[in-house]
Amino acid sequence: METSEWNDAKQMGPFLLNAAVALLRSGASSDRIRINVERLAAVSQHTLQISVSPLAIALSLTDVSGHILYNGTGTIPAQGVNFQVVSGISHLSWDVCEGKVGETESWEKLKEILAKPHYNRWLLLLVVSIAGAAFCYTFGGNASEMMIGFFATFFGLFCKQELVKHSYNTYIITYVSAVTAGIFVGFMHLIFPQLKMEHAFSTCVLFLVPGVPLINSITDLIEGYTLNGVARGVSAFLHALAIASGLVTVLFLFNII
């Protein structure tokens, strides 16, 4: 590959910006975004400046004498976790850095990474429901609670998938999904009052746990991206609040409290 083919900043800039925005949208930590984009930019002779905000990226490319060659910003509507994108762009950045792919091919590979589909919906429902039952077991639930946890997770995630299609507010989606999963356990409690439900009830909403924002929040704080760390922490807290509110609603509806 000719390194010089990367030296048109008008081509390089949008490529870097697209990669950075995709990483931000897919749940990469702030420093990971910077490292990946810097690795991609290292193939050219330009100097990269990048600023990562909670919902936006700003980057510029300058030449050796400090003249700005490209300035660009990109925003995302909301964050959603997609590790295929994080992994794919990381891989691509090494390929570009090691000179294995050229400019045109890199654009195509980036488009390919972004177009990769999610897992099949029904397979996801099955596996995540098994995970719900697994959570129930690890917290001390018995076989009947695991079964209830399985179906509660199934209906909760099904509801979440439907709501995501309609692009509702992310916290409302979490709340309604928690209510749906909880209502299933509530009905089971009405039908089989002799069965213990505590573990099933407390673990049926764990598929909604904002694990990635939570861990990224701490990672960002450690790495000095305080603003992003706080923003992600607050987002994770609001999700936790939505889950708790969902469960409280169910307890109220079934007159358990």
Binding site: N82, F83, S87, S90, H118, Y119, V128, F207
Partner: protein
């Protein structure tokens, strides 16, 4: 023997909890078996420390489990050309203190009702559960993040293993 089987069974299911989250996060197919192993490892360390004579306590056990997963994810990432967070984040999700968070929330709700004889007891229990939830979450997050920072490398590709360059 019974304790060992109980630890193995819990770790086995931790693997499936991790796998479910791996797929929910759309992790690449080639990473899924490592995610299951990561969840299993987290379960073995956490319950191994908690349920045996070591009696490590849940906060320390969760921290040790997430550090273990964080360290294990580095050579795996090196081999499979996938960033370590792809394995480590789903693998530590089974350590999330869902039951304690639930008990905390229930406790706070009870505290909103009129003062009863058991008010002080509820207050104490709620703060106990809330503190556990908070510190376990911090322990998990720090545990995953620390191994990379202790090694002080920007990328796992720059960490060398043995004689291979």
């Amino acid at each position: 023997m019974e304790i060992a089987l109980s630890i193995l069974a819990k770790a086995f299911w931790c693997g499936f909890a991790a796998l479910g989250f791996g797929m929910l996060f759309n992790a690449p197919v080639r990473a899924l078996h490592f995610i299951w192993i990561g969840g299993f490892l987290a379960g073995i360390i956490k319950f191994g420390l908690m349920l045996t004579a070591l009696d490590g306590g849940i906060v320390f056990s969760s921290f040790a489990a997430s550090v273990g997963v964080g360290i294990a994810s580095i050579p795996v990432a090196h081999r499979s050309h996938v960033p370590p967070v792809i394995f480590s984040i789903p693998a530590v999700i089974p350590l999330v203190p869902g039951a304690f968070a639930y008990k905390t929330m229930m406790g706070f709700m009870k505290l909103t009702s009129a003062e009863t004889e058991s008010y002080a007891q509820t207050l104490g229990d709620t703060f106990h559960n809330g503190s556990l939830t908070l510190f376990i979450i911090i322990a998990i997050s720090l545990g995953v993040a620390i191994p990379m920072h202790v090694l002080r490398k920007a990328s796992v590709k720059k960490i060398r293993f043995g004689g291979r360059g």
